[in-house]
């Protein structure tokens, strides 16, 4: 049963230089307690998708276009008033961000930053909220929590700050947690610890997670289902086992070739190896794209790809892909 349902979400930035179609017709469902991965290179519209769900996109330039639907527990979020939306943020849907160094307020104590979320959304008083903040620090594995409550973010390491962000996000038992590249800015060992923590808490609390990452390794470790995004669109979607067993889109193939293998990883001792990156670059989104957006970088591209955009098609076992050459891609890959 789906608690969050995104249909034809399109978010465009209107600037002096024109219209950037950062997200251009994305749909997916999130089931209760499920972990859904959204994967794609930098600039593919993953963060804008997440921020659009939360309605935290910059109001001066960004517009969620009419026709977009974000349904959460039966309510259409794009139609809610700002005030109603604030009731949902931090309580029912919460979010953690990529940069633990800048995501916490430098002049407020850790305790305040956790507790304010609790007393904003529950009736309890400030003393109880502080108690709750301490419990949350214990839960996310920060030792000496009583003392940490009165510390400031600059007194914590990057990994600990991300733990604090998780503590804030989970402090009101949200139904959905959106994690936007939560480990990208961290060292490899800390990355693993934070991912383990998230999985453990998800088991304990039953929160559904949208795990946004550019790293298929993270997807393999944490998710049940995956959406692959390219140039503001969903190009493939499948249960995680199915995706790794039978990738249908050339872009997904490219991403898989770029996954660092563990044995090599150990040799290079912490340095992130950049293996077989997909040649070329993510296209700019400020002009309409003709045909398949991946065509300039695709080994399988034909004349047709350059003029006609491929529709998303169902290939069985919950596997969707938007590519004209799926059959050929599969034979070559096999």
């Amino acid at each position: 049963m789906s608690i969050l349902s995104v249909r034809d979400l399109a978010t465009h930035f209107h600037t002096r230089d024109g219209v950037t179609r950062a997200v251009d017709g994305v749909s997916f469902d999130l089931a209760a307690g499920e972990t859904l991965g959204i994967v794609g290179e930098s600039g593919c519209g993953k963060s804008v998708t997440a921020l659009s769900i939360m309605r935290l996109i910059p109001p001066e330039t960004a517009r969620i276009t009419p026709g977009s639907v974000v349904e959460f527990e039966g309510r259409e979020l794009t139609r809610l008033s700002e005030e109603q939306m604030r009731e949902i943020r931090g309580k029912s849907i919460s979010m953690i961000f990529q940069e633990p160094m800048t995501s916490l307020n430098p002049v407020l104590t850790v305790g305040t930053q956790i507790a304010e979320n609790v007393w904003r959304h529950t009736g309890i008083d400030k003393r109880q909220a502080r108690e709750r903040a301490k419990e949350m620090l214990d839960l996310v594995g920060i030792a000496d929590s009583q003392r940490r409550l009165d510390e400031y973010p600059h007194q914590l390491s990057g990994g600990m700050r991300q733990r604090v962000m998780i503590a804030i996000a989970l402090s009101c038992d949200p139904r959905v947690l959106i994690a936007d590249e939560p480990t990208t800015a961290l060292d490899v060992t800390i990355q693993a610890q934070i991912l383990d923590l998230m999985l453990e808490l998800k088991e304990k609390l039953g929160t559904a997670i949208i795990m946004i990452t550019h790293d298929l390794g993270v997807v393999a470790e944490t998710t049940q289902r995956v959406v692959v995004m390219y140039a503001g669109r969903k190009v493939e979607e499948a249960p995680v086992g199915e995706l790794f067993a039978r990738p249908l889109h050339p872009y997904t193939h490219g991403l898989m070739r770029a996954i660092p293998r563990l044995d090599i990883d150990a040799e290079t001792a912490g340095r992130r190896p950049r293996l077989k990156e997909i040649p070329g670059m993510v296209p700019r989104l400020d002009k309409p794209i003709m045909g398949c957006a991946f065509a300039p970088r695709c080994d399988f591209a034909t004349e047709r790809c350059r003029v006609e955009a491929p529709p998303l098609e169902d290939h069985g076992k919950g596997h969707l892909a938007a590519c004209w050459e799926v059959a050929r891609v599969q034979t070559v890959a096999a």
Binding site: M54, E60, R89, G90, K91, S94, M95, S103, V107, N117
Partner: protein, 313 residues
């Protein structure tokens, strides 16, 4: 924190020492013979000698300096040449109007400028913001004395709502005291209001684009809390700095305002003492003004540590 405050306090000593030495030599190294200037054109040699003796100018310079320091340490700033009254008492009599005017101006400027600057940043590039910016440019361009005459003309002469000039000590009742301060405070405050509003807007705009503001919004916090706690506290250091500079300028600016509004404060005392070459009073005033500025500086430094936990010297 206490250790930090004590360290800052000690750091003010060298500055005050330099001021002291400067003030001492100001009189001795000034061009011309101070005694001759004071005694007047048709003074006899005996008159000059009397003035020198009174100022202590007949002693060797190191003894003069020793005496100056020794008296200063006891809070003695010397005696006025013309009225024979102790300088400390003359200054003390005039402190209240100046202090009242400075504080009320500051209150008017800060209490209006900060909300206005915050709203402008929040409504960036919308109507409210543009209105504030026009006001800020105008307010900064209009000289204080011009604003003063315009305000006097409208509120005192035409509408007759407020007194034209003069100062009522707080001892004569709170409302008359406040009435007398309204126009001078606004006249003197417009410039600072404009300045503080601008810096508040700029500093807030920068802070509002930071990641932690997005985090605050992702918790669904009320706009008021995001603006006034999460953003303003981060934006505060530049604002407080400008307020500090404002106070320093205000202290110097009282000379003009007190003249325009006929307020018997330190500014007027300064003008009178300079015109009459009453050097001991001028010296005493420089010491007091310098001490006031050092004190303001100290308070600003201490407030930084309260506002930003990362600041530790």
């Amino acid at each position: 924190m206490t250790a930090y405050i004590i360290r800052r306090l000690f750091a003010t000593l060298p500055v005050m020492a330099v001021v002291t030495v400067f003030v001492f030599f100001l009189l001795r190294l000034a061009p011309g013979d101070p005694a001759a200037i004071i005694a007047g054109d048709d003074a006899t040699a005996a008159d000059l000698e009397a003035v020198r003796a009174k100022l202590g100018l007949n002693l060797p310079i190191h003894e003069q300096f020793g005496l100056w320091i020794w008296r200063l340490a006891q809070g003695d700033l010397g005696v006025s040449i013309f009225s024979d009254l102790p300088v400390t008492r003359l200054i003390a009599q005039r402190v209240e109007p100046t202090l009242a005017l400075t504080l009320s101006t500051l209150f008017v400027a800060v209490s209006l400028a900060i909300p206005v600057g915050v709203i402008a940043a929040w409504q960036a590039r919308k109507l409210a913001d543009r209105a504030v910016m026009v006001f800020a440019v105008l307010g900064f361009a209009i000289p204080g004395f011009l604003a003063a005459y315009i305000l006097i003309w409208i509120f005192a002469v035409k509408l007759q709502l407020l007194p034209v000039q003069g100062y009522r000590p707080i001892g004569q009742g709170f409302w008359p005291f406040v009435e007398g301060l309204i126009l001078p405070s606004i006249a003197l405050g417009v410039t600072y209001m404009a300045l503080i509003a601008r810096i508040t807007r700029a500093s807030m705009l920068e802070v509002l684009s930071q990641d932690y503001i997005r985090t605050a919004n992702s918790k669904g916090l009320a706009t008021k809390r995001v603006l006034l706690l999460h953003a303003l506290k981060n934006a505060a250091v530049p604002i407080v700095t400008v307020i500090g500079i404002g106070i320093a300028l205000l202290i110097s600016g009282v000379v003009i305002t007190e003249t325009v509004f006929n307020i018997p404060g330190l500014g007027r005392l300064t003008v009178d003492a300079v015109l009459k070459h009453d050097y001991p009073i001028v010296q005493g005033l420089i010491m007091v003004f310098a001490a006031a500025k050092v004190l303001v500086n100290l308070m600003i430094d201490i407030s930084y540590a309260f506002l930003d936990p990362r600041i530790r010297y």
